[in-house]
């Protein structure tokens, strides 16, 4: 009000203000819709969880006190961190050679590894975990093999304990570890490697002294990202772990399902959220956010870029100092270690007969590891696919029959068809909404620089790293207030939040590679902003738009956890129906659905690949590929 008065009194001020703001208008208009959307359907629900944990109905810290009163929850938190830490460590160790293979091997290997790493994303995590249960069971695949060969007498306990959780969780986390490392490796300047060669280093020295240090930011980022995903995991430890493998997401779920203590579910959610936010902040210190998600190649320049953007608060400085000391000491240890192992290997190599010495052991070793890694990633599919093409009425392995009966029962079953239609009815509007909001926002981000860019990008991407269970709890409270539980509208609104990050990632990359000269040329030839957008920008970014739309579609089509909480009888989605199918009756139709989704995935991958190849080189999402020398 006051503001208004002053502007009317001093007529000259308002135009002046507008003039000063003018360059920001476009940005505000572009970022505004998405920012507003996320404020209402993402930040507000999250605030609701915080409120739930603090008010009942008046302000109280009583629920937080419960956290200390029952030491078991502290144990659950430690459990969560411990399980996630070791599974992440294993995933990063195995993922590193896989990422290396994906970057440097021949096209056939690259395609194979890329497919092995990305295909699991297309199958419900539930189905993948279930196939691990088939593999690890007391009379499962592994135990049957071991006993058949006579290696063991009694069945080994591979499941319902740490062993089962580590094997299945590492498998689930592996793709999350590989992709950031791959994207950083793509950005490593190969001339540096050639320089090492020409200076006479052995392949091992080259790897340890040049390549490894250059790829370390990728390793750090992969570790943190994977750790965050691992800490929020819910389905996998529920199914393959025992009671000692209770993780925090399971506790949240049981507070809601068994104990009916919503406030305490809120408390646990807040604890998990804080843990994840802390880790996410650490992530940013190590690496530019955009290179983390592969949308801005050249990851090794990331930390410096983000360092410049840091606000020099005491806390961040301290953290930074710590991280650098840590990296330094790592480097010292690693240098000493490298020197010793190199010497050891060289000594060993000298003893080998002349003929064997020429065999590229390193390469073969690496290929073996990559092949094993790919096999590990594909193994569960090997269990699911035979079941899919059978007529069995019970989910079991090996299946007793062969046929297309399960596909037939999928297409003739009312609930399955209804669920498929519901998924399409949710995913289509989500695709539209997320692509429009996300593309506008990405165009806004393209005009930002420094800290503002990082903040906007970080906010828009954050639903991707937020543990699904927190989002689900938040949406549940929120949608219940709006009376949208069990409605298609509720699912569309919630899924759009989860689909937006994918659009942002794809579109910022696309716009990053855009030749702005063409837009300027259009401007100078007299075309207005809108005209330039319609006739110049839009055709240029079309391939990226299509990719973004497909990702948004899949993000919704494949979403389980939120749907589990807010979908209802009339809005059951396909993943929810699969969850029920396994939980309620071990329905083998889920195998057929999984097989169908894999086929769909391969088809869509082929389409996006085709579009990319046809599209303008500058607009390729995988700019990094075109930068290869």
């Amino acid at each position: 009000m006051e503001h208004h008065l002053t502007t009317t009194r001093r007529a000259g001020l308002w135009p002046a203000l507008l003039h000063a703001l003018r360059p920001h208008w476009a940005v505000a208009l572009l970022l505004g819709p998405l920012a507003l959307y996320l404020l209402v359907f993402y930040l507000l629900p999250l605030a609701g969880v915080l409120q739930q944990s603090l008010f009942s109905p008046d302000f109280t810290l009583e629920h937080y006190a419960n956290l200390w009163r029952h030491p078991v929850y502290l144990k659950v938190l430690l459990n969560t961190l411990e399980i996630s830490f070791w599974a992440t460590t294993a995933a990063v160790l195995l993922g590193y050679p896989l990422a290396y293979g994906m970057t440097f091997f021949g096209p056939a290997w690259r395609t194979l590894l890329m497919a092995a790493v990305t295909l699991p994303f297309w199958i419900s995590v539930l189905v993948r975990t279930y196939s691990w249960m088939i593999i690890l069971g007391r009379f499962g695949v592994v135990n049957s093999l071991l006993q058949w060969t006579g290696l063991t007498q009694a069945p080994l306990e591979l499941m319902y304990n740490r062993c089962g959780v580590y094997l299945s969780l590492t498998y689930v986390l592996l793709p999350y570890a590989v992709l950031p490392m791959h994207s950083v490796m793509l950005g490593i300047d190969r001339n540096l490697l050639r320089a090492a060669d020409s200076l006479g280093s052995s392949p091992l020295q080259r790897l340890c002294r040049v390549f490894l240090p250059l790829s370390l930011p990728g390793v750090a980022a992969a570790f943190l990202l994977t750790f965050i995903v691992g800490a929020g995991t819910f389905v996998t430890p529920t199914l393959t772990g025992g009671p000692r493998e209770t993780v925090i997401a399971m506790s949240i779920n049981s507070q809601l399902e068994i104990v009916n203590d919503w406030a305490f579910a809120g408390v646990l959610s807040v604890v998990l959220l804080l843990t994840v936010m802390l880790l996410f902040a650490l992530c940013l210190r190590f690496m530019g956010l955009e290179s983390l998600f592969g949308s801005k190649p050249g990851g090794h320049s990331g930390p410096r870029a983000s360092r410049r953007g840091l606000r020099a608060t005491l806390m961040t400085r301290l953290m930074h100092w710590g991280a650098e000391r840590w990296l330094d000491s790592c480097e010292t240890i690693h240098l000493q270690w490298t020197r010793r192992t190199t010497q050891l290997f060289e000594a060993l190599a000298c003893r080998l007969p002349q003929g064997l010495r020429r065999v590229p052991w390193g390469l073969w070793g690496l290929r073996t590891i990559c092949a094993l890694g790919a096999a590990y990633l594909i193994l569960p599919l090997g269990v699911i696919l035979p079941i899919a093409f059978s007529n069995d009425t019970i989910l079991r392995f090996p299946p007793q029959t062969v046929g297309l009966g399960l596909f037939k029962s999928f297409f003739s079953s009312g609930p399955w068809m209804r669920a498929t239609m519901n998924s399409l009815r949710v995913a289509a509007p989500v695709m539209l909404l997320a692509t429009v909001l996300g593309t506008l926002a990405a165009m806004g981000i393209a005009r930002l620089k420094g800290a503002a860019r990082q903040t906007a990008y970080g906010l828009f991407i954050s639903p991707l790293v937020l543990p699904a269970i927190i989002n689900a709890v938040a949406m549940y409270f929120f949608m219940a207030k709006l009376k949208l539980i069990g409605t298609i509208t509720g699912l569309v609104l919630a899924h759009t939040v989860l689909a937006v990050p994918f659009v942002i990632i794809v579109m910022t990359t696309t716009l990053h590679g855009l030749d702005h000269g063409l837009e300027q040329a259009s401007h100078s030839l007299g075309a207005g902003r809108l005209r330039t957008f319609a006739h110049v920008t839009l055709p240029l970014i079309r391939p990226g738009l299509l990719t973004a739309a497909i990702f948004a579609f899949i993000a919704s089509f494949d979403e389980l956890i939120v749907a589990l909480f807010i979908s209802g009888a009339r809005s059951t989605t396909l993943p929810k129906q699969m969850w029920d199918g396994i939980r309620d009756q071990m329905d083998p139709v889920i195998a057929a659905v999984a097989a169908g989704l894999i086929i769909l995935a391969v088809a869509l991958m082929a389409v996006t690949g085709f579009v990319r190849r046809r599209g303008n080189g500058a607009a390729r999402p995988e700019v990094a590929d075109s930068r290869r020398h």
């Binding site: 079991r396 009376k483 009888a569 071990m586």
Partner: protein, 339 residues
């Protein structure tokens, strides 16, 4: 541009719903039980009244409460078990039912309540794989399940305190009639003995079936109906009736339900002894309307929890005790499991 418009039009088309006849949603326990409900009650009901019935699972208490509090009722008929019923009736979540015309005297004791009409008895029983111990020579009582020297091998039990505390006390020699009020310390002390042998805590009937089918455990505590169901498929499993722990399911209507009349019609329809018999035979759970036994072959009737012979040494779950102590017992149980 035209293509873009087409895409928009298609999306909007996909987003609009399809008009339907009057439909009620029934929330029950899923899987084979929902199927049995559908075939025995819902399908003839639809034929008679024209009201469509959609099934969902699982009658989670928090979700019932959320629906009533938000006024966004999605489940028209819900089938909680006795604990959920007592808690919900206490919290005022249910509509009072129109009980006129329901023959209360035909039902088991407590089978007809102001807010709920019972459907089936189900029970937690001792069960074992008959390829480990021949039928009749396996664990017969809870004490046998606890006797890991005589009957070595991995156990599976339900993942809740409920039913396990009762089993532990029975194993410790407490007579069925003196289980309540539960001596919680004594029950946990007895549970400590079995703990090293408990390999799986199953979450629901389907998982219990899977555990026995895949032979993840040799014996333990299982829902009888689910075991008899897989025995029919050839899984070598036997069920013992001594000391069965029995629970009753009720059909209720959530407060503020907009399709109350149709829901009430469904509930009344379910009380018919013939329908109850069909449900019991399809699900292996015991009918709560004892008149239903007139329509069930004797051989089958002997495998049902509400059969008089099977009820002799049974413990019926005390919903009131759980309403008072459920929260603390659950917290203790969760901590105990993780030790």
């Amino acid at each position: 541009m035209k293509r873009a418009l087409l895409v928009v039009a298609l999306c909007l088309f996909a987003a609009t719903g399809i008009a339907q006849a009057e439909t009620i949603t029934v929330c029950s326990y899923g899987g084979t039980y929902n199927k049995a409900l559908d075939e025995a009650i819902a399908q003839p009901f639809t034929k008679e009244t024209g009201i469509e019935v959609v099934f969902v699972s699982f009658p989670n208490y928090a979700k019932m409460k959320a629906q009533v509090q938000s006024g966004n009722i999605e489940w028209d008929v819900v089938e909680p078990s006795i604990n959920g019923y007592v808690l919900g009736a206490h919290d005022g979540l249910f509509e009072p039912l129109d009980l006129t015309g329901i023959p209360v005297e035909d039902f088991v004791k407590g089978g007809i309540q102001p807010f709920g009409v019972s459907t089936v008895y189900y029970s937690h029983n001792v069960a074992y794989r008959t390829d480990v111990w021949p039928a009749g020579q396996g664990p017969k009582t809870w004490a046998d399940v606890w006797d890991t020297e005589k009957f070595p091998g991995p156990r599976a039990v339900k993942y809740t305190a409920y039913s396990n505390l009762e089993a532990a006390l029975l194993a410790d020699g407490v007579p069925p009639s003196q289980i309540y009020p539960i001596d919680v310390d004594r029950a946990f002390k007895k549970l400590d003995e079995l703990k090293p042998q408990i390999k799986v805590y199953w979450k629901n009937g389907a998982q219990a079936q899977q555990v026995m089918r895949a032979h993840e455990a040799d014996t333990g505590s299982f829902a009888a109906g689910r075991m008899l169901d897989i025995a029919k498929d050839g899984v070598p499993v036997a069920v013992e009736w001594n000391g069965s722990i029995v629970d009753l399911d009720y059909l209720v209507i959530l407060k503020g339900c907009p399709r109350k009349e149709a829901a009430m019609k469904f509930i009344k329809y379910s009380t018919d002894p013939k329908r109850q018999a069909a449900l019991a035979m399809a699900s292996y759970y015991g009918p709560s309307n004892l008149k239903a036994y007139d329509y069930i072959p004797d051989e089958l009737a002997r495998q049902m929890p509400s059969h008089p012979d099977n009820m002799k040494n049974a413990v019926v779950i005390d919903g009131e005790w759980y309403r008072e102590h459920g929260k603390e017992v659950t917290a203790r149980w969760e901590a105990w499991k993780m030790q």
